[in-house]
Symmetry: C2
Subunit: 269 residues, 2 copies
Amino acid sequence: MGKTLEYPKESANTINRYKERGKYDLQTIHQLINTSPVLHVSFANDTDEDGFPALLPMIGQMGSFAYPSAGIDEPLDLYLHGYVSSRIMNLARKKQGEGEVTSNEASGMAVSIAATKVDGLVLSLTPNSHSYNYRSAVVHGYACLVSDPEEKIYAMRLITDSVLDNRWANTRTPPDKSEMSSTSILRVRVVNASAKVRAGAPHDDRKDTERADLVDSVWTGVVPVYERLGDPVPSLDNRVDEVPGYIRQYVERVNRLNEDYAMSVTRDK
Amino acid sequence: MGKTLEYPKESANTINRYKERGKYDLQTIHQLINTSPVLHVSFANDTDEDGFPALLPMIGQMGSFAYPSAGIDEPLDLYLHGYVSSRIMNLARKKQGEGEVTSNEASGMAVSIAATKVDGLVLSLTPNSHSYNYRSAVVHGYACLVSDPEEKIYAMRLITDSVLDNRWANTRTPPDKSEMSSTSILRVRVVNASAKVRAGAPHDDRKDTERADLVDSVWTGVVPVYERLGDPVPSLDNRVDEVPGYIRQYVERVNRLNEDYAMSVTRDK
């Protein structure tokens, strides 16, 4: 039995409201990041004078180039993928020193990264006690551009296989020279992180549950919510007659996992 | 025929990469916000010395208290809902001047707000041309706490009905004194916004489409992705035998809309 690793609780990541929903273990947080098709990434926007942080949807995955066999509950970096001259990549490059390739982690760009899943509509007697079942993770770390081509390919494979398991091995690889130079990868060294999870039935105050007129007229319960993958639709140029097994299996597996989780939290344990 | 209103293109919100995917019309942006169960909200975090912007999932809706009949394509504010002493509400209160109620919009807190939907996995011949079908909106604006109780109730109703249509009218309302004081509402005056939409089939470069070995072996197409609402699960305390019509109809309508959209963008128009 190994021990459960947790991120340190610092002022930036400690959950204060609904403390009991707070989670700090690596497994919960990494799993949320790795099963979210889209992450939201935020950073201070140097060029904007109005004070709005930059905020954008990106694709990313947790992994370890140094220890590729590391488990989901072990220390991992967060890899983000983007176009070479996008704002975030330009800014990261600027921070690392114009034109200069550096592996100095301390010089990275501070980023906040969120992954959120809605698992159910929690319908109670009165609007104030309505809620969602949800799982959310927020990660803070320092982002640096990856310069080692091998690490870049490691991250590209990780990210491609997060779109669909085993997709990398079933497509034309490796990336050619122009593909390598048009894509940038950021490696985020995570310094702290937290998750928040709400699961279970609605809960009302006694002032409402004691009113028979309310309890007899207001339906209470949970409407499960989950992301679903539909049947694959071939492109007009596709010449492979049957949908390959690794695609069908992925669709089935993800659909089962997503629906099962949402259903499992409709009632209190 | 009215004219199509658009947000101004400023440096903070102009789409530079894949320009043709950029959208600035109010309708597209407002609709994305209003049909996303969760938004991501980012703002500069005064108390954090490490430079990480605050980033959190919140529930919000576009609406107009001054012109409640305004259409989705007309100027609207964004209302966000939270606990009275959460960090974002405390910060907004501080910005408005301790204890002082002000309606001076200029003194609001700068916030960035994102809504993103993944509509499909776009599977092409090579990892570099893989993509998602997606719709994302980012809104920049200044947030102030709502002090007028009528506006607060207007926003609470808007937000409750965004969880499930007509839920407000079918629950115990209005909020009582302690509910009114434990809930805060932020009104965000939007100054600029943009959306980005990717729809359609995968597209590969000629260098790959000309290779028969690839085209004959790699399945290409789109796996539709959409959020699904499951069958409502009554709580153990529920005493209303049948799931009410407004709940059943909402579940059916949202499921139809979500699936239809994801399917409609699996092929190019």
